[in-house]
Amino acid sequence: MPETYLPVLLALAFALILGGVILAASGLIGRGSGGRVKLSPYESGEPLLDPSRKRISILFFLIAIDFVIFDVEAAFLYPWVLVLREGGWPLFWSVMVFVALILVGFVYIWRKGGLDLKKRFRTRWQEASHG
């Protein structure tokens, strides 16, 4: 019944309007003074040492890729769940093969260290103490 989705759209519109109204109200009521120092970005009270926007560490992108793979897998599972009773064993095992394929990839990432986010390297400290 597509009509049942109408309230969701209404709620979305409602939430957006509410957000807009709150922001607008604050804009009308709130005071503003500004100033050079006040508008400078927070950097623990010191001038910036280098630009704020730089290329982001690759580790975050790796996580994002992992996520996409697994979320797509989860999305496939939902319809499977609903028809599992009718499908019986063939459906069960076929999806399990699919999951197993993904798991191979998962184990590979794990073994490769793709899930370890702390980058390891030798520091000055270690170099000094271990020669």
Partner: protein, 360 residues
């Protein structure tokens, strides 16, 4: 009242009446009489409960027992100056907080707070019941990540950016085990309608937490992580990244982020209550001797709403309890926990549940 409704039904026609007018009124009631006051007093309750746990008093100056504190806070945040830092990306900076709040509010439109109407044309205790509700909840629950990352990136501050990245990585990492964990109850219920899932628990005679305890545990952990709460509150770890992604936010935009965090807490709790704790059902729904717990003396299924609220409050208390107890994870440990423990755990649970489902 009913006369007025009948007149409106007459004037608008059934489709417009049932799917636009009534939902609109319900949405307004849910937001203004339910969620928003709940959030305001949840903040106060958290401060009070934490105060109690930490051998101190908590807010007690504004009104009796500090009961007017939330109102004072809202007023203060409303009249504060909105600072947009220099060289910030303005559209991202403004859109960020809205994106955190709006999805949470939309989710409330599919949460069944109480049972459906007993008779045709009666009041059901939810805005709407759609057959892919769970999928929609999952989809909408991911949206706040965009708000956080936009806000963090748009602020032109390194602390915000790091906080934004952290929370994005954290939220998507826990999205996966959460998604897998939800498959368990789904398998048992055979429907994605939230009303249907609660009814399946009634038919089964027990809450899904009993057969799906592992899934519940994974969902709980992932839910806490998704709403950025202690011990997973890294994105805004005040001792490390100052305030994380909302370092640069002031006034009402900050308030929206704040609102979003608490709204998400309530969303996660509501979903957990619906899926695992039997929604509006009383404990042991199959035991006849306990049927007085249905509170059927209350009119129009209000007893169900009472049960739902009770469970919700317990869940919210657990959130606060966590905050009073645990230290914070480190970023890499948090990710390792998600990827190396929660995902395999959820997968094993999925496999076993599927096996049982097909077998029986």
């Amino acid at each position: 009242m009913s006369g007025l409704l009948a007149a409106m039904l007459e004037a608008t026609g059934p489709t417009l009446f049932h799917y636009v007018l009534v939902p609109l009124i319900k949405i307004a009631i849910v937001l203004f009489a339910g969620v928003l006051p709940l959030i305001m007093y949840l903040v106060l309750a958290e401060r009070k409960v934490l105060g109690f746990m930490q051998a101190r008093v908590g807010p007690n100056r504004v009104g009796l027992w500090g009961l007017l504190q939330p109102i004072a806070d809202v007023m203060k945040l409303l009249v504060k100056e909105d600072v947009v830092p220099r060289r910030a990306v303005r559209w991202a900076f403004v859109l960020g907080p809205c994106l955190v709040v709006a999805p949470a509010f939309v989710i409330f439109s599919v949460i069944p707070f109480g049972p459906p109407a007993a008779t045709e044309g009666g009041i059901s205790w939810f805005v709407t019941d759609i057959n892919v509700a769970l999928l929609m909840v999952l989809a909408l629950a991911t949206l706040p990540v965009y708000g956080i990352i936009l806000g963090g990136w748009g602020s032109n501050s390194k602390f915000s950016l790091l906080g934004g990245l952290r929370s994005a990585a954290q939220m998507i990492s826990y999205e996966v085990p959460q998604g897998f964990a939800l498959v368990g109850p789904l398998l048992l219920a055979g429907t994605m309608s939230l009303v249907g899932i609660v009814e399946a628990q009634r038919d089964l005679g027990m809450w899904f937490i009993v057969p799906q305890f592992v899934a519940f545990f994974v969902f709980l952990v992932a839910g806490v992580a998704e709403s950025n709460r202690n011990p997973f509150d890294l994105p805004e770890a005040e001792s490390e990244l100052v305030a994380g992604f909302h370092t640069e936010y002031t006034g009402i935009r900050f308030a929206l982020f704040f609102l979003g965090e608490y709204a998400n807490m309530i969303v996660v709790s509501s979903v957990a209550v619906t899926l695992f704790l039997g929604g509006w059902l009383r404990p042991f729904p199959s035991v006849e001797a306990l049927s007085f717990l249905d509170l059927s003396f209350l009119p129009a299924g209000l007893g169900g709403v009472v049960w739902f609220s009770l469970k919700l409050f317990v869940f919210l208390f657990v959130y606060i309890w966590f905050r009073g107890t645990f230290p914070r994870y480190r970023f890499d440990q948090l990710m390792a926990l998600g990827w190396k423990w929660m995902i395999p755990l959820a997968l094993v649970n999925l496999f076993l549940t599927g096996l049982v489902k097909v077998w029986v």
